[in-house]
């Protein structure tokens, strides 16, 4: 295979901080090259240089043996480099065709020719085996289709090397499978991919070669058929991960019980929650799997008191808390790691300290004032224990990386030390080390006899931690599996609305 792209001795410094140190990275024609590493390892920095969003401090980039210098992404695009960002950059109110041809619209007598655009998109879809409906609005499409659209957009721009930044974060298992198949097919047709991810089983499934980054340097470089997930994770983290085992507790009394909860949807639509009944007992982790948007968010909002159900009751520690305020429910014994850290879990403008206080504000009150001295000590303790990287306690939350903010939120809720914890996407966007810490805390809490309701779109996380797995589909519990019998296939089937098969 011919060498298409080469990054030689790339170093990138921000002041005293070296984000990339002497990196050599290359891509051959028709290969899938995975770039793995924890958050902050320097993957994104390296790709930003390749995509013309940053310039290297030293080192060179060669394309087809010729040295190139990119000053902005449009130059990189002209040289055949395309990037699909982690957060999709589509206009929701535009059709897929309009989104794909944007910046290079086919024209007829000076006007945008929508028909030609749609034809072009159909042709591209056919050629690369990724068909989409060109006339559909992007906002109406499932995330898998939106991603396909992003890839088609990059192909339309004429990319030969496509950078995929964490492409599977928001996809369902079947969409992930489809995506990996598509890129393998495209690779066979001669396109090259750089796959940035920290999901190792995807790397093992799709990649030809793997480069591992840690703290800005390359710690490993291998062919995928000569390695395994364990070796890669060791290279990523720089130490052996402690294998965590779930010790099955004998579950005790119910800490949280939801009985026949129903929540109506918009007029004429299906109910958001359809007669949901579930129980979480002391010393067990109950996992809720499901494609996002099947009622998980609403269920959590009902349990935590943010939304009142139309019928049904919620019990916490044996007390009916239906209709109680959030504060009353929290005081009755609930802590809550919310699913969306920026919407529910934090205030970007507020300091780390203020974000840490939320939910604890009445415990640190004396004469109406905040006991800030005491609070500072406690929050410093969290920062140390969870290795939260922050300038100081007075740094605004918006300057923390997503993973570090997630650790802060998790620490805050663990510190509540309540008998019932909602853990919704507790490790979304955090790196392997932090994931290990949070998982360890969850298991320890469970072992101490508390009940945990775990909601996650990561099946591996559900399977690793849960004693029981419930699957939600269209607002109802589609099935329940015990830890022993739950497999990824069975859960996937229930998630997609299939009937439970034994």
């Amino acid at each position: 295979m011919t060498l298409l792209l080469e990054m030689k001795n790339i170093t990138k410094k921000y002041g005293d901080f070296t984000a990339n140190h002497n990196i050599n990275f290359d891509v051959r024609k028709g290969e899938i090259h995975a770039l793995v590493g924890e958050n902050g390892a320097g993957k994104t920095t390296l790709m930003r240089m390749l995509y013309g969003m940053e310039e290297p401090t030293s080192g060179s980039i060669m394309i087809n043996g010729k040295e190139v210098h990119f000053h902005d992404p449009s130059e990189a695009i002209r040289q055949g480099i395309g990037m699909v960002h982690q957060h999709f950059m589509l206009f929701p109110s535009f059709t897929l065709a309009e989104n794909i041809v944007i910046g290079g619209e086919p024209k007829r007598s000076g006007l945008f020719d929508r028909k030609a655009a749609a034809d072009k998109v159909n042709e591209l879809g056919q050629m690369y085996g990724m068909p989409v409906d060109p006339w559909r609005k992007a906002g109406d499409c499932p995330l898998g289709v939106q991603q396909r659209t992003e890839i088609l957009k990059v192909l339309y721009q004429g990319a030969d090397v496509i950078i995929l930044d964490e492409p599977t974060g928001v996809l369902t298992p079947s969409e992930v499978k489809e995506l990996l198949q598509s890129i393998k097919r495209l690779a066979a047709q001669g396109k090259s991919f750089i796959l940035i991810t920290h999901k190792l089983h995807e790397v093992m499934e799709a990649a030809d070669r793997i480069t591992v980054l840690r703290d800005g340097v390359i710690t490993g470089h291998m062919e995928s058929n000569t390695t395994d997930e364990e070796q890669i994770s060791r290279l990523m983290v720089g130490r052996d991960l402690i294998p965590m085992s779930r010790v099955a507790n004998e579950p005790g009394a119910s800490v949280m019980h939801v009985q026949n909860v129903t929540l109506a949807g918009a007029k004429g639509a299906k109910p958001l929650l359809d007669n949901v009944t579930l129980t979480v007992r002391q010393g067990e982790i109950v996992g809720i799997a499901g494609i996002s948007g099947n009622g998980q968010s609403e269920l959590l909002q009902v349990i935590s008191g943010l939304v009142q159900p139309d019928s049904g009751i919620v019990e916490l520690n044996g007390k009916d808390v239906t209709g109680d305020s959030v504060r009353a429910i929290r005081e009755q014994g609930m802590a809550h790691i919310p699913e969306d850290r920026y919407m529910w879990g934090a205030s970007r403008e507020a300091t780390v300290l203020d974000n840490g206080l939320m939910g604890h504000q009445h415990q640190y009150k004396k004469g109406g004032l905040i006991q800030s001295h005491k609070l500072r000590k406690v929050v410093s303790g969290w920062v140390e224990r969870f290795a939260i990287k922050t300038g100081s306690l007075d740094t605004q939350a918006q300057f923390l990386s997503g993973g570090n903010l997630q650790k802060l939120i998790a620490a805050r809720e663990f510190a509540q030390n309540k008998p019932f914890l909602i853990a919704a996407e507790p490790t979304r966007g955090v790196d392997v080390g932090a994931m290990e810490t949070i998982h360890g805390e969850l298991l320890a809490k469970c072992k101490a006899g508390d009940g945990i309701l775990l909601v996650s779109s990561e099946l591996t996380e559900i399977l690793k931690l849960s004693d029981r797995v419930l699957v939600m589909y269209e607002g109802a519990i589609a099935g329940e599996l015990s830890a022993a019998e739950a497999t990824e296939e069975q859960i996937s089937l229930l998630m997609a609305g299939g009937k439970r098969q034994l």
Partner: protein, 349 residues
């Protein structure tokens, strides 16, 4: 940034804004063909040039600071209270009525009048909050429109039922309030009254409340991200009552202070036409809703206004040059929002 630095920054911001405003004013003065230095020297003299002018400026700053503080608290909670003028007018009217008709020793009537002024201002503000919570009427619009109702109602009251019949002048105003009920002057022969002390105390108290108290924390978080606040058990309704009531009460106090300290009667239009309410909103915006910064900005804005009067007295430059400076300040406030946005985007990268 440390907390101290952030507070200093909040104090610095209005000063920088005023300097930029003065630069723009300088251009206007040059275009008029006058000496910038002379004009600004007159402006300085008019605002701070003598003890008399200084106290005059602080007198004018008093209602601006108080309304500004009220708006600052509401802004912090995420509620756009644009109704400080109306709250101030009703507070002033209520204080005047109490002072005129409540029997008792002077000091007691004074205190009760201030409290009644605050209560009425607070309730008027809360009424808008109630309509928001109950009927979903946008607070920005309701507070704005309630200003007209308040001003016109007060105008009717002093034009008819409460009209001063004793004097020969046919002005729409209440009779003079008895001297024993006036807010005491701080210095004899000067206009500055005890209301200024109340304003400074209120600024410090509000600063402590917002930064240090649990309720203040809940109000800040509600303003930053209402979802986060709801998640953490903050009750929006209760916080709205606290924020709107206090906000209106501060505006009411501004009105009561003007009536009991400066006008000594309720004179139709005196509170609304001086634009104290709007200057207060301006002070708050300049200081990013920081109470201490709002007090500083309030004094600067008052200085600009009293200084401009000095300019008009002693030079050919018209009073309107102050409007130019104020307009540039307004622009600066909106530009600063844009700058903060750009900075955030840059730091994200």
């Amino acid at each position: 940034m440390t907390r101290l630095k952030r507070n200093l920054f909040a104090l610095l911001q209005p000063i920088i804004a005023v300097i930029i405003g003065l630069l723009a004013g300088a251009i206007a003065i040059v275009l008029l063909g006058d000496s910038v230095i002379d004009t600004y020297a007159e402006m300085w003299n008019g605002a701070f040039g003598s003890f008399y002018f200084l106290t005059n400026t602080l007198t004018r700053a008093t209602p601006i600071i108080l309304t500004g503080l009220g708006v600052a608290l509401a802004f912090r909670a995420g509620f756009f209270n644009m109704g400080s003028t109306g709250q101030m007018v009703l507070g002033g009217l209520a204080a005047a009525i109490t002072a005129l008709y409540l029997p008792g020793p002077g000091w007691m009537v004074l205190v009760v009048s201030l409290v009644v002024g605050m209560a009425i201002g607070g309730l008027w503000s809360l009424f808008a909050g109630y309509m928001d919570a109950k009927f979903g009427i946008n607070l920005l619009i309701s507070t704005l429109l309630l200003n007209y109702i308040a001003s016109l109602f007060a105008g009717y009251m002093v034009a008819f039922p409460l009209k001063d019949q004793s004097g020969s002048a046919a002005m729409a105003q209440t009779p003079m309030i008895d001297k024993s009920i006036w807010l005491p002057k701080l210095f004899s022969g000067m206009s500055l009254h005890a209301g200024f002390i109340l304003a400074i105390v209120a600024a410090i108290a509000l600063y402590i409340f917002i930064q240090k108290s649990v309720s203040g924390y809940e109000i800040r978080m509600l303003g930053n991200n209402p979802f986060f606040a709801a998640y953490g058990g903050v009750k929006r309704g209760r916080m709205m009552v606290v924020a709107m009531l206090t906000s209106g009460a501060l505006a009411g106090l501004a009105g009561a202070g003007e009536v009991l300290g400066t006008q000594h009667r309720y004179l139709d239009g005196a509170l609304a036409s001086a634009d104290y309410g709007w200057s207060g909103i301006m002070a708050t915006l300049l200081a990013s809703s920081n109470p201490l910064g709002t007090a500083v900005a309030g004094i600067l804005l008052a200085a600009l206004q009293t200084g401009a009067m000095g300019v008009e007295r002693n030079t050919n430059v018209p009073l309107e040059v102050a409007s130019v400076i104020q307009a540039v300040l307004t622009l600066f406030v909106s530009a600063r929002f844009g700058y903060a946005f750009l900075k955030r985007r840059k730091e994200k990268k």
